[in-house]
Amino acid sequence: MTEQLPIVIILGPLLAAVLAAFAGWFRPKLSHPFVLLGLAVSFAAALKLVFIVADGGAQKYWLGGWGDKVIPSQKEPFVVGIQITVDHLNTLLLAAVSGIALLTAIYAKRLVDTELAGRQRYFDALFALLVAGLLGISITGDIFNLYVFMEIAALSSYALIAYGKGRSYMASFNYLIMGTMGACLYLLGIGFIFIKGGTLNIDDLSRIIPTLQANGPSQALFVGFVLIILGAWAKMAFFPFHGWLPNAYTYAPTASASVLAPLATKVAVYAMLRIMLTVYSIDYINGLTGIQPIALYLSTAAIVMGSFFSLTQTNLKMIACYFIISEVGYMVGGAWLANKPGLTGAMYHLVADAAMTSALFMAIGCIVYRLGQAQLDDLKGVFFKMPVTMAAFVVTMAALIGVPPTCGFFSKWYLIQGAAQAGVWHFVAALLLSSLVKAIILFRIIEIGYNRVPHPAIEGNPAIPRNEAPLSMLIPTAAMALGLVALGLGTSTLVNTIIAKALPAALAP
């Protein structure tokens, strides 16, 4: 039974989506519970697999039962079917994605009922399909399968964003163009790899690519690599392909943004890591002496630019979107540093940033729900009106800044260590700069929300009524914020049992 767990992770949300689609026409009230059930099953399976992988190593699953077969003309057996793999690199991500999705589904129920009233027939189904797509990208062991899952996630997200009305249609259209360009580049990259490798299976490719390069570097494999990386960069909104993200996530309804923002870009970063480390191997990366500095400069630019723009924005959601752009810069830079602390930081940050972004968007969503606006100036007195939400918000910002013992501190720690070790000082500077900017923004918000109104506890000042977010939204927000601290405290366990084993063996310390 446990060997079927990998497919259960995908089937949960997929079947739930179909059932929700049926329910939408008969008993609309059932579509949300179906999705919750599917996500819960998926999360349970993913969580169990974390422990199985920690003890037993990578788990491989072959769809249709088609695994290794001996081919007469080849020396070693090749996989003829489609494989899905749960190993040290993706098991934490799978648990994080399914868990955050589950929490967000609970959180978003109220928003769907109010913001999207009368139009929500397929929202739950699209939500579940998005999660199925993201989980699929994370779990698949076949590069073409990754493309198909990528498009499942993409199409669902275009629709989820377009629920926002008004400016969301143009924002979604622009995302569609950029996203499809990225997916097509990825597909083309697969073509170049395929023309030399002859197989689509990730494990088999990692085995034969070194032999293909035995007579010198292969230009086709190089072009394929660059195309795939560019495609992934477009999907994760890495500078200079970040243009679609701020508008898309700001004009999307809160219910959509709170699931898209934490998860979509991180999964794209994972896809990049998977291609870099498993398909191509760390030796190949180290051999690309021209590309590494370019990637690192772009990462620094992403962080600096994201920080700069977040300072100039007055809309809370926009600020959060530019935070995402700089966080993506952290991860790409960490990955391209190609040393132990850098990669550890990047992999840890996958999970940490997903959690932080989720908490951030949930808190902002609560504020928008009650106050109706997300402009900074409207936040007067919000600390009194919504104390619990703001407490969660402050904890999340502290994590983003990098205050111990939240998870954000440890990400920065590893990343700075890695950059210092590699001598890439512009990256270190960028990381510190972004923490500074976030601190400035936090203090600004505290100032507006706390100090600009007469304090109600002092005699003679008007009372400010509490108008806290509804419980169904508040509890997930608070839980996620606490989770940031818990994650931080559990860092060494996570790193030592799982992340360290995901690092390629041939890595320099």
Binding site: Y169, C184, F194
Partner: protein, 136 residues
Amino acid sequence: MVDSTAGSDTMENLIANFNYVIVVILMMIGLWAMLAQKNLIKKCIGMAIFQTGIILFFISIGAKNEAKVPILSKFVVENSSAIIVNDYANPLTQILMLTAIVVGVATLGVGLALAQKVYQQHSTFHEDEILENQRK
């Protein structure tokens, strides 16, 4: 990257693999349209051209000289040891491309739907005019 003596080799190679050159040109036309055209519908058409170009590329990779369609004839079905691999065109690339075509038309549909919604709001498909409208 290439020095002058290798220049003629490259030219030779280009001509021998002329098919690939055409494919790349086609793809780049589509990509250009996606990014540079201001009309939303033209962008969608460009997207479709880019995608069909990629599909042509993949089919080209899988082509085999003088190969038949990948369907086994009745005789061969009965005597499965008589299957000669080189007789048949590559089925794998074809399947990948079937999927790609379907994904392409799905994306085109969603893109057109979004474009239609934008038209309802702004009465135009032209990007610049839309941006102007939004700033008002």
